[in-house]
């Protein structure tokens, strides 16, 4: 048994699979104070449905793959740990200056982001290394002590350390870290050379601070999770999703919390590929609208886009990660009127606690979920399969008070306005990941995930003119599913600087073998048999005197220079092969991959187009094309079968998500059970596999 668990800002999703291909799904509310509580609750639900005790169930689970948006949300909402920074005297503002960039050069209203550590908590420490790591001035421990006095008085929860030139000699950072461990043993400690041992001060200090800022939150969470899992008798392997699309052990995630900054959404592109793959496609847009955030990613030629110099909320994060656009838009996004009298929705979220007003848990702020409820898009008695009863009056009151009245609008118009604003924000996110990178979104099927996604997908598609999107049957646990499609991935890096022609072949191969051996050891501790381990060795190369590298597979070693010239030419339009410019090697990298069993998706037998067996009834729902309510048919999504067709407007309810098919769209169920929704004016956009079904 393997379980994929995705802890979102609002919901925690579960997908359990067994060797025979059967799957089981669960969804519970996230418990923000300690998300492990919600996680355990979900396992309990899974166990109960199988008629097992929690202990019996936990005993059969061999692997839990776990992704969390906990750290992402902390940065997006500015809710991270109170962090102190120790840095070299004279450069404490580097974090806030961000090298003096203003991303919008012609926009004088564009302001800098508030620094993750305010200036009075960025403390200078005397002591200096030169560019080669040689000590110029000794570390002054008294400066560290004085800073720690302040940090203690200010109740700082996390401390980041980043000194000039520490990449060349971590000694000063280590000694400062010792003092921090002794004086503030409870504080989360982030040492730049442990997080990112590479040259360039700003990306390193920013990454170290991000790590500190989210560290305490992740550490509290993982510690509690491991303890609780042990208590219920789980003896398998726990793995945590990283931003690069692979997984790591919780021990390394805890020390290097920044690798999880895009942990949750990192599984999405893999999952998207599986669902479009059943139509023979290898490209898609994936979008995931949860309770707090909206993620959009792009897969081309079977590969998710990857970035190595990424950002989280305009803070540099120099760790490899998938290229995912995240926007503060979700079911919990709060609607408000800004200083200029304009309606805004998000990025603030009511999260799971207190949650939307309609949850009746004391939330007073109107959210997108409240608006969806008022518009009839959600059934108050069938939210989360009826486990969360929704209070329609509370939703109405919240929207009335905070949006409708200030704007002088009826409640319905205010609710419809909130939905339009959030839909436009999400469409902008899709534009960002496609058009902004030079791709036409209309050429990519959009795979829609997240509990709130299917309710808003038609509006996003209409805004962008997308003729086609696909809602997987288990769309609400999309990322949890993606996690089970992911292989174990461990990246190792070792600096080896020198001219390629001058480094003996044995030295290179020896270094690679050492890294590979470390990879094999870790994978074997994760129960991966030797025959499922693959090792990819890579080298980062450049022409001498360049400052950026190109990463290439090391083998075949004989033609590495030739491949480098070709790759440089492909990427940058020229090579210096004829000039005979020497190549310089900077880093060796090894990625050790352990192949995991992927759950199989059984193909359903095709039945006729008639969906009436699954019809539950009808209710008034606001239809945007008509700008009014209409009586709209409601279907039980679990009862729909391969080949069934439904013309919009229609509501398709499943336990964990509601799909709203707008008037100009139609949906057909494919062989994997996914709902394929298409623009009725554009049936030509359907993949060949479905044209057959429609005929």
């Amino acid at each position: 048994m393997k379980v994929g668990i995705d802890v979102g800002g609002t919901f925690t999703d579960f997908l359990a699979t067994t060797g025979d291909g059967s799957t089981q799904v669960a969804k519970v509310l996230t418990t923000p104070a300690d998300p492990a509580i919600g996680l355990l609750e979900g396992l309990r639900v899974l166990a109960a449905e199988r008629g097992q005790s929690l202990a019996d169930f936990a005993g059969t689970v061999r692997t839990i793959v776990h992704g969390t948006t906990v750290t992402t949300n902390v940065v997006l909402t500015g809710a991270g740990a109170k962090t102190g920074l120790l840095t070299t005297e004279g450069v404490r503002d580097a974090l806030e200056m961000r090298r003096g960039v203003r991303e919008e050069q012609y926009n004088n209203r564009f302001t800098n982001i508030p620094p993750l550590v305010p200036r009075y908590l960025r403390r200078p420490v005397r002591g200096r290394l030169d560019h080669a790591g040689v000590e110029v001035a000794p570390l002054v421990p008294e400066d560290v002590e004085a800073a720690l006095d302040l940090f203690a008085a200010e109740r700082v929860e996390a401390v980041a350390i980043c000194f000039m030139n520490s990449f060349a000699n971590p000694d000063h950072e280590r000694r400062a870290a010792e003092i921090v461990r002794r004086r503030l043993p409870g504080a989360y400690l982030s040492v730049s050379t442990e997080v990112l041992p590479s040259i360039r001060f700003y990306p390193r200090i920013s990454t170290a601070v991000l790590n500190a800022y989210v560290g305490p939150v992740l550490r509290r969470y993982l510690d509690s999770l491991i303890r609780r899992l042990r208590e219920i008798g789980f003896g398998g392997v726990l793995l945590v999703m990283q931003s690069n699309g692979g997984v790591v052990s919780p021990e390394s995630a805890r020390d290097k919390a920044a690798v999880t900054l895009l942990s949750g959404p990192a599984a999405g592109p893999n999952a998207g590929l599986v669902f479009v793959g059943s139509h023979g496609l290898d490209h898609c847009i994936t979008v995931d609208m949860g309770g707090t955030s909206f993620d959009a990613a792009l897969v081309r030629d079977g590969q998710p886009l990857l970035v190595t110099e990424g950002q989280v909320n305009r803070n540099a994060l120099a760790l490899p990660m998938l290229d995912i656009v995240t926007i503060g838009a979700g079911g919990g996004s709060i609607g408000r009127i800004d200083e200029g009298g304009l309606l805004r929705v998000g990025p603030q979220s009511a999260g799971a606690d207190p949650g939307p007003a309609c949850y009746g848990r004391g939330g007073r702020a109107p959210t997108v979920t409240d608006a969806d409820l008022v518009l009839g898009r959600l059934d108050p008695d069938f939210f989360a399969g009826g486990r969360i009863p929704l209070d329609l009056d509370a939703a109405r009151r919240a929207i009335e008070e905070r949006v409708a009245k200030p704007l002088g609008l009826p409640v319905v118009a205010a609710a419809a306005g909130m939905v339009r604003v959030v839909d436009a924000n999400m469409a902008a996110g899709v534009r960002e990941i496609t058009i902004r990178r030079g791709f036409d979104p209309r050429e990519f099927p959009m795979v829609v995930a997240g509990g709130a996604g299917p309710n808003h997908a038609c509006a996003i598609a209409a805004e962008l003119g997308l003729p086609l999107f696909l809602v997987p049957r288990e769309s609400s646990i999309f990322c949890a599913a993606g996690m089970l499609m992911t292989d174990l991935k461990h990246d190792f890096v070792r600096s080896m600087v020198g001219r390629l022609a001058e480094i003996p072949r044995e030295t290179l191969l020896g270094a690679i073998e050492e890294l590979a051996e470390r990879g094999r050891r870790v994978l074997s501790s994760e129960n991966v048999p030797a025959d499922r381990i693959t090792i990819l060795a890579e080298a980062e190369l450049r022409y001498v005197r360049q400052y950026h590298e190109v990463c290439l597979p090391l083998h075949p070693l004989e033609d590495l220079p030739k491949r480098f010239h070709a790759e440089h030419s492909r990427l940058y339009g020229y090579s210096l092969e004829e000039e005979g410019t020497p190549l310089e090697i900077i880093n060796l990298r090894v990625r050790a991959t352990g192949g995991m069993d992927k759950p199989a998706f059984p193909s359903e037998e095709r039945v006729g187009p008639d969906p009436s067996a699954a019809r539950k009834g009808a209710r008034p729902v606001f239809v945007p094309e008509a700008k009014d309510y209409a009586e709209v048919a409601v279907f039980d999504g679990h009862g729909l079968r391969h080949g069934n067709r439904i013309a919009g407007p229609a509501i398709i309810e499943q336990r964990n998500t509601t799909l709203f098919v707008s008037a100009s769209y139609e949906t057909v169920v494919d062989s994997a059970g996914s709902f394929v929704v298409f623009d009725r004016a554009r049936p030509d956009a359907l993949p060949r596999t479905l044209k057959e079904v429609l005929r």
Binding site: G100, R200, R436, G573, Y574
Partner: protein
């Protein structure tokens, strides 16, 4: 019927192409001026040399590429072929500054010229009397460097080794040769992407959509101009010291006429050119005008030919903003800050909610010499030290440490560790400068203080800029920012304060370099600034308790 989604796909595709060209250039160049600070621009133009899109890391370079495209077309006439690569830097045929060497690549599709990709970057050396190119003693262009009128270094795909060798025989540093290859590569990247787009959509759609983009952009710009009251609005600003005559001043005078959706900037009354290198070229001055005006309109207007079409600029030859042959002009790009001040002052009474107070003016230093650690020549432009604060505007504080208005935050600090790798110097301090920001209800952006120890003997320090006489001005009751200044503290205990245009040779190792870049001007009465905000800034040490009391009136209420 134009497909609106397809238009925006094209617009974004053009943008992604010039962005990719920019990334390509940044990742392959050697000089820190390019690979660290991004002192370059990449662009895409149609066959007629009209701007399709640009990535304007340094806007002052940006608005001269399209005119040079047109110039090159006229210059070569029918003699343009697939596989040609053309170099250009000549200031008397629409260049910016001799160090700003551009590559133009004509793009052919099905046998027809369909467009141009181009890249222009500040090269670390261009020959002339001073390594690095800034020569305050120059009185003629030949003392500043080698002039490259349009010349084919590759002719129909065949490299011209003779021409190549002629050019690089006149330039000191080998890395310039490699960095020009990188510019050429960036243009190949642009060509490949544009051709892929053409293969996919065809020439007819491309032509149609392009025209549509130009027109809709022009209409957007005209609509923006129509929101400015019609009339003629005069403004002026001073330029201090030509590098030769102590105390000399010059005045830039602009008359801005707004009428019928068009705007005209007339510099006819501007002072004559100087005898030194403090002179502009037409394109550097026109770029300055455009980039300043763009900050007063909707920032989302696409950057293509339609954007500049309603803007008319008149700069008579022989003025300080458009010096006549064979004047020295290396300082020309740096006349942008006073030019911007003149424009802001002209429009501040007319559109008070859309202008900023004065920005900190550029004062820069270039250090050059031989890195004793490696016995290699180096040139460093002190980007981190020059970046002061922007002016505040109604509703928004100035941006801290953004730098001169001609880059507006597009040019970056050297990364500190890369600075210590690439120069022999050791950084001592680079921090916000307390009380540098002009006070106001919205304060100006903060300036910075930079200190480093010079690491090799016989270092040359060249200063160029302004802002050491007149600070960034405040508006609507806001105060002015602090002044710029550079000094050298020599190991023997003597101090030398640099003039705003200066050249010091033989600076010994161990000298402490100290620079203060001032803050921007404030907007509105400082006593109206929220008290909590002032207290927070006192706690953070960017406003002193004295300034909080005396300027902001903290504690009086």
């Amino acid at each position: 019927m134009i497909d609106p989604i397809l238009s925006s796909v094209f617009a974004r595709a053009f943008k992604s192409i010039t962005d990719e060209m920019s990334i390509s250039l940044q990742r392959t160049t050697r000089s820190p001026i390019l690979c660290e600070a991004k002192d370059f621009v990449t662009g895409l133009y149609d066959a007629e040399g009209r701007m399709l899109e640009q990535t304007e890391n340094l806007p002052i370079l940006s608005f001269s590429l399209a005119p040079v495209c047109r110039y090159i077309r006229r210059y070569f006439g029918d003699d343009l072929h697939e596989g040609d690569v053309i170099f250009h830097n000549d200031v008397f045929s629409l260049g910016n500054q001799l160090n700003d060497v551009a590559v133009y690549r004509p793009i052919f599709f099905q046998g027809h010229l369909v467009g141009w990709s181009a890249a222009k970057g500040h090269q670390a050396d261009i020959g002339g009397a001073v390594q690095g190119g800034y020569n305050p003693d120059a009185t003629e262009c030949w003392q500043e460097g080698i002039r490259i009128p349009p010349v084919k270094v590759v002719d129909g795909g065949r490299p011209r080794r003779d021409v190549w060798d002629l050019i690089f025989a006149n330039i000191r540093l080998d890395i310039v040769r490699e960095d020009m290859k990188a510019e050429m590569g960036s243009c190949v990247v642009g060509e490949r992407r544009l051709l892929a787009l053409l293969r996919k959509y065809g020439l007819a759609r491309f032509t149609e959509v392009k025209q549509h983009l130009f027109e809709s952009t022009r209409r957007m710009m005209e609509a923006e101009i129509r929101t400015i009251p019609e009339g003629t609005w005069p403004g002026e600003a001073k330029v201090y010291y030509d590098g030769r005559h102590k105390g000399s001043t010059f005045t830039i005078r602009v008359k801005i006429t707004v009428r019928d959706g068009r705007i005209r900037f007339d510099y006819t009354d501007t002072d004559p050119q100087t005898k030194g290198f403090v002179n502009g070229t037409y394109t550097s001055s026109a770029s300055a005008t455009i980039l300043t005006f763009l900050q007063m309109v909707n920032p989302d207007i696409p950057h293509n030919e339609g954007m500049v079409e309603p803007i008319e600029i008149v700069i008579p030859e022989g003025t300080i903003l458009n010096a006549a042959y064979p004047a020295a002009t290396t300082f020309g790009n740096h006349l942008c800050p006073p030019n911007a001040d003149a424009i802001i002052r002209a429009l501040a009474p007319v559109i008070p909610d859309r202008v900023t107070a004065g920005w900190n003016q550029l004062l820069c230093a270039l250090t050059t010499g031989v890195d004793s650690r490696r016995r290699e020549k180096y040139v460093d432009i002190g980007f981190m030290g020059l970046k002061g604060g922007s002016g505040a505007m109604k509703g928004t504080d100035g941006y801290d440490h953004i730098g001169m208005i001609d880059a507006s935050g597009g040019v970056l600090d050297q990364d500190y560790e890369m600075f210590e790798q690439q120069t022999p110097h050791r950084l001592v301090k680079h921090e916000y400068l307390a009380d540098s920001a002009g006070p106001g209800q919205w304060r100006g952006g903060l300036g910075v203080e930079t200190r480093y120890v010079i690491g090799s003997d016989d270092t040359t320090v060249v200063a160029f800029g302004d802002g050491d006489v007149e600070p960034a001005f405040g508006l609507a009751g806001g105060g002015s920012g602090s002044l710029n200044g550079i000094e050298l503290r020599l190991p023997d205990g003597t101090e030398r304060r640099l003039a705003s245009k200066d050249l010091v040779r033989g600076v010994p190792a161990g000298t402490l370099y100290v620079q203060r870049a001032g803050g921007g001007g404030g907007y509105g009465d400082p006593r109206s600034r929220p008290r909590a905000k002032v207290r927070e800034e006192v706690r953070d040490g960017v406003i002193s308790p004295e300034a909080a009391r005396d300027l902001y009136g903290l504690g009086e209420d």
